[in-house]
Every structure is written in C-alpha cells, then in structure tokens.
C-alpha cells in the first residue's frame, strides 16, 4: 500500500516547499476541487526579465494535491510565463512518480490548473472579477 504514499510525496506534504503567501505577487489565483474540498492558491512574482523570480502557494487538502503543488513550485522557478503555459499534465504526474486512479488524478492536477490560470493573468473566475475585487 505504500507505493502511492512514497517518501517523496509524504515529505512534500509534510514539509511543503515555497509555502505561504507571497508579498508583492504579480499574479495569483485561487481554485478548489468542490468534490473533495482541496484548495490551492498560487502566487507568482514575475520580474523585469519576464521570468518567475519567486513562486509560493497556500492550500489545504489531501497529500496528493498538496505534494503536487509543492513539486510544481520547484519546477517553475526561473521559467517564463509562456513556458508555464506549456506545462502539460504528464509532467506533473511524472514529478509525482506514481500511478493514480482517475478520481485521484483530479487531486494531482488542481495545482497545475491553478498555476495556469495565474499565468494567463486571471484573478478570478471570468465574470466574477468585480465581485472578488469588492470583497
């Protein structure tokens, strides 16, 4: 039963890298998986050079969703937004290094979905930006 929850994943779950809000972030996005309540917020700081100088995330949820977010932040530091937009789900699943059932793949990919929305410059679900700003 341990193949799914291998050392690497549990380590990223218990000691998430780049965890916490990011002061002065140029891009951020929050998303949830309504089925299981997993939550991720991604914060990006894109510098003059157009590269991601810093990335943070906050969130709560299962080990798979949180470890995948932590791994993703490590993968994208120093990359351009265009490079981030090009990351596919196989890359994320490969970083996790485990085979997931379809239900759990959703947990693993929440971080990528959130990251891409941030990279595309979204701040809220399209049409709800004003509501978000007012809060």
């Amino acid at each position: 039963m341990d193949d799914l929850y291998r050392e690497n994943i549990l380590d990223h779950y218990k000691n998430p890298r780049n965890y916490g809000e990011l002061e002065g972030a140029t891009h951020h996005y929050h998303d949830t998986n309504p089925l299981c309540g997993d939550e991720i917020t991604m914060f990006l700081l894109v510098g003059e050079s157009g590269r991601i100088d810093d990335v943070h995330f906050t969130g709560r949820g299962c080990a798979i969703s949180q470890a995948s977010a932590s791994l993703l932040t490590e993968r994208i530091k120093g990359k351009t937004l265009d490079e981030v937009k090009g990351i596919d789900k196989e890359a994320v699943l490969e970083d996790l290094g485990i085979t997931l059932s379809p239900a759990r793949v959703k947990c693993a990919l929440l971080s990528l979905k959130t990251l891409k929305a941030a990279a595309w410059g979204l701040t809220a679900w399209p049409g709800e930006e004003a509501k978000q700003a007012a809060e």
């Binding site: 799914l4 929850y5 299981c36 309540g37 949820g61 080990a63």
Partner: protein, 420 residues
C-alpha cells in the same frame, strides 16, 4: 421467495453468514483482500432474490405496464402493482394509492417541492429545515424559498451532532409553512425524533416532508406513526436496484396537487383544449416507469421484512458499539456525531489528524475496505463541523464485527504509512 436468513423472536441476532451468501458481490476481492463494503449509506449491495425478481421479468414476461391487453403486460403490471403494495405495507401507508414510484429520493423530494411547493409557498412564509439535511432535501427548498421570497430557517445541532430540539421547537412555534427534515443524518448517523418534531410542525400548520433515504433501509419507518405529509427514499440504498425510489404522500394532498411531469400514463383524457389527470398514484408517474426496478424494490422490501427490519437496526447498532471504542481510543482520531449508540444508525464519520479523508479512503481501499471520503452532499453540515470532508464508514445487515476490526487495523496501518 426464499430468504435464507430469518430473525425469529425479538431478541434474535442476524445469521450474517447466511445473509452474506445471498450477496454474490461480497465474495469479491479488492487489491487481493476480501471486500469490506462499508459504503452502504451511499448505495447498498443487492441480494440474489432482487436480481432474480428482475431477471424473471426480463426473461419471462417483459412488457410495458398499463398499456397492453395481452398476457405479458397484465403479468408485468400485476408484478409492478404488487411491488407498490409491498412498499405500502413496509412503511405502513394507509393505501398503495399514496405510494408513487420515482427514480430516487432526490426525485421524490423535488416532486414535493415542485408539485406542492410551487403552488403553496408564498412570500413571507417560513420554511424550517436543519443543518443535517442532505443537499437533495435542502436545495429544493432553498431555491424555492428564494424564488418566492420565503424565509429559510436552518435549525442547528448541538456539539454531539444531535438536532437542537429547543431551537426547533421555538422556530416552529413562531410559525412555519413547511418543515423539511431528514429522519436520519447521512453524515453523522443520528436519528432525529421526527414524530415529535412533526407534531410541533403540525400545530404550527406546516406541511411536513421527511427525508427517509437513510432511515427506511435501516429501521422501522411508519408514516402513520410519524404523522408527516410526505416521505421519500431511494431503493438502491435498501437492497433494491438503482433507478427505484418512492415518494409517499397523503392522498388528500396528492389529489389537490398539480402533476410534476406531464406525458403518457399520467393522463385520463386529452383534447386540444385541456387535459384531465389520471387517478393516484399514476397521476405522478408520467411516461414509462422504471417498472422492472420497482419490481426489484418490491423484492428488496420483502427480503428486509423476512430478515426483520428491527433486527437489522439492532445488528447495525451493535456494529457501531463494537467499532466506536477502539476507533476512539486511537490517537489523533476524531469521531463526528455522538459517541454513544442512542438513537443512531450505522454511520460513523471520522477524521484522523494529519491524514486527509481522501488519502485515508485510498489507503483503506488498498486493504479492500470501501468507505466514502468527502462532504457526503452535506456542505452545510461540513461547514458546521468546521471540516471540508470526513471519512465515513457505513454498515448494513451483511457487515460483521470482524469487518469493524479490519477497519480499525487499516486505520492504524494508514497512520504508520503517514509516519503518525
């Protein structure tokens, strides 16, 4: 129909080994381990007797009901109406005319909200419900209340997870047009004292709807004793096939209501200018009913009656009594809902600190144990408990103490995997 297990006398315990022989799926293995089915609150497994009743229709006399004058249609129609009579007896309905076959509890509860609610709920009316409701008992009234400008009052639970009866009584005394209440909570396993609450609601002049999706499969539900106006439940949670469900209502109310769906079978006469509705219960059964599923539900109800619904309830309470002490003794475990066995059914929702319910359910699955992780279509309750999800083990007549032990052992193993 031969049922292999039978409880005799009031103190009888179930012959679970024999019951299990009626459920072919229970001998499956998962990840090389014997299947431990602890997700019956989501859907129950089916005994051969139910599958057989459905096979007989399909293989021996399948025909649409209420339509043909030939032999097959008459036989199938008779079997369908027999199933209705069996369900009526099971819930002690005054008449089978009041038993309407629908697809599931959700459809039944929506039928009431649409066909009764839309014509009766007015601006300023109060709809009283509880934080324990499943979304299918809650959302239809929430939406209708918003549409017409009625007030939605949501009664809280105490720290044990039991309904705040003081608050319920006070709210009903202020006046209510509707009471929508679950009989037992699918999230916490507590039984609401619906008879008492319905009594208060009646005094306030309210129409009362009881969600029996989690009670009808597991304990005696007597609509005349409860005194409510409507109840709904799903066949698939009580050994019947998916696609079978029931809404029961008082004839006097059903007769005054407009139909929910229009179409074939529910009509007595149609001209270009007008339509007249069929009699009860067919007025509410538009189109071709899932008649084979309803016949399967009839077989399920007979199975439950032969085993004995009170014996089933006692058996499940005993399983909870066996499970709770070792589970509660485990470091880091929180059990939501009461920690005793008074007024409860076989639903145990828990959390283990440091392990998200989804991870727990995945690790239990590796041990062959099927439990549900998530919000159980109970968002208001999860918010009240301050969690986003729980792990829920739920029992039925075919579960054993050994399976409860297996669950506790697997929880311990999961903690080890997470280094806890």
């Amino acid at each position: 129909m031969a049922v292999t297990a039978r409880a005799t006398g009031s103190a009888a315990t179930l012959d679970v080994a024999r019951i299990r022989q009626d459920f072919p799926v229970l001998s499956q293995t998962v990840h090389g381990k014997p299947l431990v089915w602890l997700d019956s609150a989501s859907t129950s497994q089916k005994p051969r007797q139910v599958l057989e009743a459905m096979r007989v229709v399909y293989e021996e006399h399948n025909a649409n009901i209420h339509r043909g004058v030939y032999e097959f249609s008459e036989r199938t129609t008779a079997a369908f109406e027999d199933a209705r009579a069996a369900v009526a007896r099971f819930i002690n309905a005054p008449s089978p005319r009041e038993v309407i076959f629908v697809r599931n509890a959700t459809e039944g509860l929506n039928l009431v909200a649409y066909a009764w609610g839309r014509d009766n709920l007015r601006k300023g009316d109060r709809v009283v419900t509880t934080v324990l409701e499943h979304h299918s008992s809650f959302v239809p009234w929430q939406q209708l209340a918003q549409d017409v400008g009625a007030e939605l009052v949501v009664v809280d639970i105490d720290d044990d997870g039991r309904l705040r009866l003081d608050q319920m009584r006070a709210e009903l005394e202020k006046g209510a047009k509707v009471l929508a209440i679950t009989h037992t909570s699918n999230g916490l396993g507590v039984i609401d004292p619906v008879k008492e609450v319905v009594g208060w609601a009646k005094r306030a002049g309210a129409t009362t709807i009881v969600d029996a999706a989690q009670s009808a499969p597991h304990m005696r539900v007597d609509v005349q004793d409860i005194g409510c106006d409507f109840i709904a439940f799903s066949g698939h949670k009580m050994l019947g096939p998916v696609g079978s469900g029931v809404v029961w209502g008082r004839a006097a109310l059903l007769e005054r209501m407009r139909p929910f769906l229009y179409g074939g079978d529910m009509i007595s006469r149609v001209s270009i200018e007008r339509s007249d509705w069929n009699e009860l219960p067919w007025k509410f059964e538009a189109g071709t009913s899932a008649y084979v599923d309803a016949i399967g539900l009839g077989a399920a109800v007979r199975y439950l009656e032969e085993v004995g619904i009170d014996a089933i309830h006692r058996h499940e309470v005993a399983l909870v009594a066996h499970l709770l002490p070792p589970l509660l003794a485990e470091d880091g475990v929180t059990v939501f809902g009461p920690h005793d066995t008074r007024d409860r059914v076989g639903v145990v929702s828990f959390d283990v600190k440091g392990i998200h319910p989804h991870d727990m359910a995945t690790l239990l699955d590796r041990e062959g144990i099927a439990v549900r992780a998530g919000h159980h279509c109970n968002n208001p309750l999860m918010t009240r408990l301050g969690v986003s999800a729980t792990t829920r083990a739920s029992t039925y007549l075919y579960n054993t103490n050994e399976e409860m032990d297996a669950l506790v052992a697997a929880v311990r193993k999961a903690k080890k995997v997470f280094g806890l």
